[in-house]
Structures are given as structure tokens and as C-alpha cells.
């Protein structure tokens, strides 16, 4: 009985969070922007990056899904606002009064944000992949240059992994915002975590440190899931890389949940 009550309480929390997110003015715009930015940048990349011969070193999946680099920023904003706006307006006190189990509130928020991100991610990644599959063979990604049929199992894994990547970035955003309670600071932190590592990796010349940086960096490690060529040479295998990002995301969520419980709203 009590289990059923708990389950229905979480369903109520999910429903409440879904209503809040659905009716926020920005949500639809942000989801649309995430899709447009992802597909746009992917298309530019697929149209401009060429493979000039056998062993040119370009990864058709990374080239065709490059837009995820831009789309993730919008996804992060969406996730941060889903939590941060409630703190901004003070609404969070009402929420916690209605729903005293704060971890459940955070879990419901995370679930709803993950769901809408996954929906937008499927749309964005599928469209990017189709554009890439249409454009890339004309840019030298041909059997003659060592690329088989581009629509392979590895490409499917890269596409599916990219959707998961966006979902994990959203969860990272939810967790960091729960920790920081301020939208602007949270967005700065999340984007800093994502974008700073690749720049730092550029100036680290020690191969060991460079490798560790790439293994630790949420964006670099997570995007390993897009690799379809040269897997032996990359710091982590595709799923290991996504696992590193998952550790970041669920670590942030866990810390966020813990601080929610421990401190005043």
C-alpha cells in the first residue's frame, strides 16, 4: 500500500513538473533552437569537410554530427532554467511545501527534462544524420577512400549515442543548478565544464596528461561515442566515454539531491 502511495506521489511529481516545463514560455523556443542549431551546424560541417584520399583521417559520423557541439548549449540552458527559474522566482518554496520529499522533486524534474531533451535530440540527430548521409559521399567519403556504406551499425551507435549525450548534458545541467541555485552561474559552470577542457588539452603537451584530460573531460569523453574510425587510437572506447559523462551527470545530480536535502531552500 505504502509502495503504491509512493509510486503515485512520484507520478504526481512527474505530472507537476511536466506541466511547469510545458507551460514555461521558453521551453518550446529552446527545444526548437536546439534542433535548428544542431542540424544547421551539422549540415555546414557535412557540406564543408571533405576527404581527399584514402586514410584522410576524417570520421564521417563526427563530421555529420558536429552540430551537437552547439545544440548541447541550448539543452544545457533548458535544463538549467527548469530548476533555476523556480529558485529565481521563489516558487521552489511552494513546490517543496507541496512535495516535501525534495529528492523526488529533483528526480521528477530530471526525468521530465531528460524526456523532452531526448525527444528533441532524436529529431535533431536524425535530421543531422540524414543530411550527412546525403552530402558526405559527394565529399569524398566513398568506398574508394576506405569508407564502406555510411549507414552502418557504427553510425547507428554514433547517432543513438549522440541522443544519449544530449540527455546526459541536460542531466548535468539539472544537477549543477540544484547545487548552485542560480541560473546564470549554473549555465556558466556547465558550459565551462563542457567547453574549457578541449582548449586546455591544446596546450598540454605531455601525452599522458593530454590523454587523461581527454578521458576526464565530459565533452571530449562523451563525444567518443560518435567515433566510427580509429577506435584503437582514442583515449576511451565509445561507451566508456559516454560512461564518463554519465558519471559527471549523475554525480552532479547526486550532489544536487544531497544538498537539497541538507540545506534550507
Amino acid at each position: 500500500m505504502s509502495g503504491a502511495v509512493k509510486a503515485s506521489a512520484f507520478a504526481d511529481a512527474l505530472h507537476a513538473e511536466w506541466t511547469k516545463l510545458r507551460t514555461l514560455a521558453g521551453t518550446a523556443w529552446l527545444l526548437a533552437a536546439a534542433v535548428v542549431l544542431t542540424v544547421g551546424l551539422s549540415a555546414v560541417s557535412a557540406a564543408t569537410v571533405t576527404c581527399d584520399g584514402a586514410g584522410c583521417g576524417e570520421d564521417p559520423a563526427k563530421v555529420g554530427l558536429l552540430g551537437v557541439l552547439a545544440g548541447q548549449a541550448v539543452v544545457a540552458v533548458l535544463a538549467v532554467l527548469a530548476v533555476g527559474e523556480e529558485y529565481g522566482t521563489g516558487m521552489i518554496r511552494v513546490t517543496f511545501a507541496a512535495m516535501p520529499r525534495r529528492e523526488a522533486v529533483l528526480a521528477a524534474k530530471a526525468a521530465v527534462v531528460a524526456a523532452v531533451t531526448a525527444a528533441a535530440g532524436v529529431l535533431a540527430v536524425a535530421a543531422s544524420a540524414l543530411v550527412a548521409l546525403a552530402l558526405e559521399p559527394g565529399n569524398g567519403f566513398t568506398a574508394g577512400h576506405g569508407y564502406g556504406h555510411l549507414a552502418s551499425a557504427a553510425t547507428l551507435r554514433a547517432a543513438f549515442g549522440s541522443v544519449l549525450y544530449l540527455v546526459l548534458v541536460a542531466l548535468l545541467g539539472v544537477g549543477v543548478t540544484a547545487l548552485l541555485r542560480d541560473s546564470a552561474a549554473a549555465v556558466g559552470t556547465v558550459l565551462g565544464l563542457l567547453y574549457l577542457f578541449p582548449i586546455l588539452a591544446q596546450v598540454i603537451s605531455n601525452p599522458d596528461w593530454h590523454r587523461h584530460t581527454m578521458q576526464l573531460a565530459p565533452m571530449q569523453a562523451g563525444l567518443d561515442v560518435q567515433s566510427t574510425i580509429g577506435l584503437a587510437g582514442q583515449p576511451l572506447s565509445p561507451w566508456q566515454g559516454l560512461g564518463v559523462l554519465a558519471l559527471w551527470a549523475f554525480g552532479a545530480l547526486g550532489l544536487g539531491g544531497l544538498t537539497l536535502r541538507l540545506r534550507d531552500a
Partner: protein
């Protein structure tokens, strides 16, 4: 008068707001700490091969890099130089009757150890050089002036590595030989070329202040490496191959006080000087000079000179050393913190409803925005200046302690790098303030500005896009502003990979910063209009 007092009060009020919010002060301090600490990460994680052989430290390493000229600029100074001593004023004349070369299109070492030129195909490099040279001895990096024919850039006069003056744009062949002449009068050296040896065209003059009375004069040949740069996902690879150039000279004449024999580098002497095991296998094994008429013949019969290497400024290459601007890699961390504080300084007023009070106190709304811009821009400038002024020497100290070689930058370039970083933060803060005023949402404003400034940099520099697209990004997006940190020079007379990936921005430092300034100005103008026109 009252107006000016009013604005001063507004600035003071904004300054008070800024310094009394603990989180914002913490953010600005964090900006400075991130700028310095993230910059340190690079050298702290680095070790250079010379103090480790395999995994074992050798403790026998010196900070070394390429040879340097008198100003400290790194240079390449390797050629085959047939020379004799000239004391005081004089003239050197020679006719170049043939100029051709060989190169390895695949890069790498020789195909056949027994045959140094196996696998090489015929062809000159664009900056292969053959000509006459007046030089302060044969020490690497010493002062010189040269008149030379190049592979595909015509006749030139070059001196002291960084100076290059174009002469007639012709190619020298056996059918169309060219006379070259250099005259010395005190510190002034003048270069000429001629088609017939009687009518001379002046190319340029050089003033070499520290040239000694006795110099080495003669004919030389050099040929820089052939390099193909390939950009691929996550980095670029360079395919480099050795090259050779052979110049045939006759009618060599020196006027002035010049006696004694010609010093003719023996075939293979470049490899011998290098001393490296296996060096004899490469094209250096065939570099050297022979007299056209056999041993001991008169110089008027000329020399056939085969050379490799280059006499030119050296561009920082992969792994050879660090560029000075790499000490400011932490700027991105500081930039993000400053953007957050700048955006918050506006959006938090909206969030708390304080904006109504602020605008009631200052009904001329544009002035409120101006006051905020002055305070944020000023504070960000100071934060950036302090952070960069600490980061540059601190990171360099770590670099040196790790025995990393840091490339030369003039004091002027270093000051520009530090002040430019401070201005970059200041302009970015105003940009973030303007965007925050337009969108009134902290998270959206912060994300928009970070994506506008940092993402194009990642795409252009640390990522994947082909060179054309990368240069376009580094020209028109706010990321163009990072050109202000560039200290390395793209030399027109040196062929290298001058792409954003290698730290070369398409715009000049101040022009690049101006691009960000333009973005900020447009955003500010729009923010001003919105603030004045709409209800709070």
C-alpha cells in the same frame, strides 16, 4: 554640470552594487584565479623529451631552441655557402645560370639508404633560394644581406631574416640567366639584378648596424622542407619532406680588399656538421659545392652549389616549443566567470524587481546602462590586467623549470598580449551586459555570449573545420578577438601552415579585437533602444 554629477553618482551607485554582492566579487576573484591556474595546467602537465630518454631522466638538458638572431627572433640558418673574406667596402657579383631542385613528395626519410636522392622528384620549392650573400661569419643567426632568386617568387633582396624586398618577378633558367650584385658601403648594403651584366636594376638597401669590418661574401643555395599539412578531426598532421636546390654560378667577381681562397663546403658537409647518426642518408649527404672547372679552378668559372635548409625566420612548429600566448590559455576560464557576473549584474535587477527602483532613481534609462557598462568594463579590465600580468611570467617560470622552450616575442608584443587580454574581458563584459539587457534572462544571456565567443574558437582552433571555414569563423565571430593574444608572426617569405589551428589568426591583433568591439557595440545599441522603449 548637474548632468555630469548625475552620471558620476550613477557610476558610484553601480560600483557599490557590484562590490557589495558577495557572489559577484567571488566571481571576479575566481575569474583572475582561473586565468592564472588554468594557464599553469599546460606546463605543469608537460615534460620535454630532452630531459627524459624513454622513462629515465638524464639530468643533462639545457633550455634550447632554434638559433636566434640579434633581436632574439628564432631563425633557420642553414645553407651551402661558398665564401671568402671581404674587408671593408666592396662589391660581389655573380651570374646565376641554372637553378633547379629535388624534393620528396611523400615526406619521411630516404627510400634507399645507399642512395640519398632515391624517391626524390624534380622541382623547386616556392622559397628555394640561390644567390649571393654577405654575412657576418658562418655562425647560425648572424647578420646578413642577400640577393637571391627564389623558386617561384622572383628575384628578392633579403636581410637579417625578417626583411624581404621583391625585385623582378622572373624565374632563372639556363636559357635566361641573371646577374646578381651586392655592394657594401659601410653599414649600407645595396642589392641589384641585371639581365646582361651591364644595366643594373636596384632592388633594395639594407642598413646592418652591427656588421663588422670583415665579412664573408660569396654564393649560396638553400631549400626549405616541403610540407603538406593535413587537418583532421581533433588535430592536424604535417607531412614534411627534405628538399634540395642546386644553383649554378659563374662570372663570380669580388671587388675591394678580398684575397685568399674560396671556402667551398664539401659534398656531405652539411650532414657532417649535423653530426647525427644516419644524417648522411638524407639529401644533406649531397649538399655541398663543386667548382665548375674542377678542383682548384678559378672562381670566374663558377661553382655548382647544392643546398638544403633555409635562411629565414623560424615559425613555431609542432612540438618544437611553446608560443608565448599559450600562457594565457586560462583566459577562457576567466572570460566565462566575467560573463556570468556581467550578465547577472543586469538580470538580477530584473529578477528582484530592483530595476523599478533603479529606473525610478535614474529616469534617463540609457544612463543606467552606461553606468553599468563603465563599471563592469572597468572592473573586468582591471581583473584581466592583473590576471594576465601574473599569468604570463608565472607560466613562463613553470615552463622554464620544466625545460620547455618558449618562443620569442618582443616586449611590445607581450604588452599587447597582456593589455589585449584585459580589453578582451572588458569588451566581453559589456557584450554580456547588453545581451542580458535584451533577453532579461541570466541563463540565456550567459549561454548566448559563451556560445558566441568560445564555441567558434573551439571549432576554429581546437577542432575540425577545414582551414577555409576556420578562418572565416576567426574573422567574423566574436572569437576573432583572440587574435589580440597572438605573438607569432606569419612571415610571407616562409611557407608554413598559418591556420587558426596553429595559432595564426587571419586578422591583425587590434582588428580582431575590434570585431568583438563591433559585436558589443551593436548589442549595446540594441539594448539601449530596448531599455528605453519597453516597460520594465
Amino acid at each position: 554640470m548637474a548632468g555630469r554629477d548625475g552620471f558620476g553618482q550613477l557610476v558610484h551607485a553601480e560600483w557599490t552594487k557590484l562590490r557589495t554582492v558577495r557572489g559577484w566579487v567571488a566571481g571576479l576573484v575566481l575569474a583572475a584565479i582561473l586565468t592564472v591556474a588554468l594557464g599553469m595546467l599546460g606546463p605543469l602537465g608537460s615534460k620535454i623529451a630532452c630531459d627524459h630518454v624513454g622513462d629515465a631522466p638524464t639530468h643533462s638538458c639545457h633550455i634550447s631552441g632554434p638559433p636566434q638572431d640579434a633581436t632574439g627572433q628564432e631563425v633557420d640558418d642553414q645553407s651551402t655557402f661558398v665564401h671568402r673574406t671581404l674587408t671593408g667596402d666592396g662589391t660581389v657579383t655573380a651570374r646565376l645560370t641554372g637553378f633547379d631542385g629535388k624534393y620528396s613528395p611523400d615526406g619521411g626519410g630516404p627510400a634507399d639508404p645507399g642512395n640519398p636522392t632515391a624517391g626524390l622528384i624534380d622541382g623547386l620549392q616556392p622559397w628555394s633560394k640561390a644567390g649571393i650573400l654577405i654575412k657576418d661569419g658562418t655562425t647560425a643567426g648572424s647578420a646578413y644581406a642577400a640577393v637571391l632568386a627564389s623558386g617561384s617568387h622572383g628575384i628578392r633582396m633579403q636581410y637579417d631574416y625578417t626583411h624581404d624586398t621583391a625585385g623582378p618577378a622572373v624565374s632563372v633558367t639556363a636559357a635566361e640567366p641573371r646577374w646578381l650584385r651586392l655592394t657594401r658601403a659601410g653599414d649600407t648594403l645595396t642589392g641589384f639584378s641585371s639581365t646582361d651584366g651591364t644595366t643594373w636594376t636596384q632592388i633594395g638597401t639594407a642598413h646592418l648596424a652591427n656588421l663588422p669590418k670583415s665579412v664573408q661574401v660569396g654564393v649560396f643555395t638553400a631549400s626549405p622542407d616541403f610540407a603538406v599539412v593535413k587537418n583532421s578531426f581533433g588535430g592536424s598532421s604535417t607531412n614534411t619532406g627534405p628538399t634540395l636546390a642546386t644553383g649554378t654560378f659563374d662570372q663570380i667577381a669580388v671587388t675591394g680588399d678580398s684575397t685568399g681562397d674560396w671556402t667551398v663546403p664539401a659534398i656531405g658537409s652539411a650532414a657532417a656538421a649535423d653530426g647525427g647518426p644516419g644524417a648522411l642518408q638524407g639529401p644533406e649527404a649531397v649538399a655541398g659545392a663543386v667548382s665548375n672547372a674542377g678542383a682548384g679552378a678559378d672562381a670566374a668559372d663558377g661553382f655548382t652549389v647544392t643546398g638544403t635548409g633555409d635562411i629565414a625566420p623560424s615559425a613555431p612548429g609542432e612540438g618544437a616549443g611553446k608560443t608565448p600566448e599559450s600562457s594565457l590559455a586560462g583566459t577562457f576560464g576567466g572570460l566565462i566567470a566575467v560573463i556570468v557576473v556581467a550578465a547577472l549584474s543586469m538580470t538580477s535587477e530584473y529578477r528582484r524587481g530592483l530595476i523599478r527602483t533603479s529606473l525610478a532613481a535614474s529616469p534617463r534609462r540609457g544612463r543606467l546602462l552606461a553606468a553599468k557598462a563603465v563599471v563592469l568594463g572597468g572592473v573586468s579590465f582591471v581583473v584581466g590586467l592583473v590576471a594576465a600580468a601574473i599569468a604570463v611570467p608565472a607560466v613562463r617560470a613553470v615552463d622554464h623549470s620544466k625545460r620547455m622552450y618558449v618562443y620569442y616575442a618582443s616586449t611590445q608584443a607581450e604588452i599587447r598580449m597582456v593589455v589585449g587580454t584585459a580589453l578582451l574581458l572588458a569588451v566581453a563584459a559589456v557584450f554580456a551586459l547588453a545581451i542580458a539587457t535584451i533577453v532579461r534572462r541570466g541563463a540565456a544571456a550567459v549561454a548566448a555570449v559563451i556560445v558566441a565567443v568560445v564555441l567558434p574558437y573551439i571549432l576554429a582552433v581546437a577542432s575540425v573545420l577545414p582551414a577555409g571555414a576556420a578562418e572565416w569563423l576567426a574573422r567574423v565571430t566574436p572569437a576573432a578577438a583572440f587574435a589580440v593574444q597572438q605573438t607569432v608572426t606569419a612571415w610571407p617569405q616562409v611557407k608554413a601552415s598559418y591556420t587558426p589551428t596553429n595559432g595564426y589568426f587571419p586578422l591583425s591583433p587590434w582588428l580582431g579585437l575590434a570585431v568583438l568591439g563591433l559585436w558589443a557595440a551593436v548589442a549595446y545599441a540594441f539594448a539601449h533602444r530596448q531599455l528605453c522603449r519597453r516597460d520594465v
